[in-house]
Symmetry: C2
Subunit: 209 residues, 2 copies
């Protein structure tokens, strides 16, 4: 299968980078084709604005849903968006690899969703057609806090409930089939043995996909 | 009281801009002091990276929690972060005004949280001290979808449940007292009468704070 890994971390030697490398190795070994979008390395533009559109349906008033639909119809997205859309369309499985910052994606990855997951490409907001149906998705992320912090009785509650806004709100809306996340809790506090063990577990999860 | 409005929308003539203006007018009228951070107008840097820190505790390995704590202790954050931190510390009430994109903040506003809501300033991750205790916060946002879309029986469920990752996960963690959000559902489809009515309702909500 074709696998797109969308990876966002400011430190190229981080544990997230190690997880990305394990995924590339394991999935290649299993005979899959891989593409990686390394958003920090690409200096990916995080902020959606009028420059995302090479021509405008309405140059006088910027309505983003209108312009996204127009760009999808006329193939006039900015080149960086176009490249990411092509990768999404190519992929059978998309893995998002990132550190959980404030219960969410780093801004550069949030911007990827704002700019690439657009009306007319991943969903049709007028007809509610879910255009990524048949593809799969998995979140792979690290947390600063421990597993207890993110459990049902922890201060912020069960992380899977907390992240329903992503799994149900984003992925469900576009028709993606959600694979349970792989979470490396308390990443900054792990010993090298523990890191090794987590990476081994991640490798097994990926080989079983 | 002192009110900080953090505002993010790419179109200066959007309904979000109108809501921001209503807030500035109503709250000024009621005798409050207001500051607005207009993130698009400021070209606010969305992406957290090593340039956020004027000096480094560990120049060899970038660990953001370590560097944020160091910068908070030594007052060495980049100037744009410093300015926003000062506004947060000045404020008794913070209002976030934005369009809901993918159940979340636009990336430029997510980046504001990544870069400004930092360890040692809004929370101490080591001691769990919640450093914004005593301040209040309110979300004010527009949605593309209707109120039904965001109701308990809608496709993505109750918006207040969906946004617990913000209200509980972010605001709870830093000690902010959460005021119920003001939501303008289906903003793009509102007639001018309806827009006027929504802005009037928003004005009343603000005057009652």
């Amino acid at each position: 299968m074709n696998v797109l890994i969308v990876y966002a971390h400011p430190n190229p030697h981080s544990f997230n980078a190690a997880m990305r490398d394990v995924a590339v190795d394991a999935l290649t070994e299993a005979g899959n084709s891989i593409q990686v979008s390394d958003l920090y390395a690409l200096h990916f533009k995080a902020v959606l604005d009028e420059n995302d559109f090479k021509e405008r349906q309405n140059p006088d008033f910027f309505n983003l849903v209108v312009e996204q639909h127009h760009a999808a119809t006329t193939d006039t997205f900015a080149e960086d968006i176009k490249r990411e859309i092509e990768k999404v369309q190519w992929a059978d499985l998309i893995i998002f690899q990132f550190p959980l910052w404030w219960m969410s994606f780093p801004a550069i990855l949030k911007g990827w969703f704002d700019r690439v997951f657009v009306n007319g490409v991943v969903v049709n907001f007028a007809t509610h057609e879910r255009l990524l149906t048949g593809k799969r998705v998995m979140l792979a992320f690290t947390t600063g806090g421990s597993a207890a912090t993110y459990s049902a009785h922890g201060p912020v509650g069960d992380v899977n409930v907390l992240l329903a806004y992503i799994t149900r709100g984003i992925f469900g809306t576009v028709g993606l089939d959600v694979i349970p996340p792989f979470i490396a809790f308390g990443a900054p506090s792990l010993s090298s043995e523990q890191r090794h063990e987590v990476l081994q577990r991640y490798r097994q999860r990926l080989l079983a996909l």
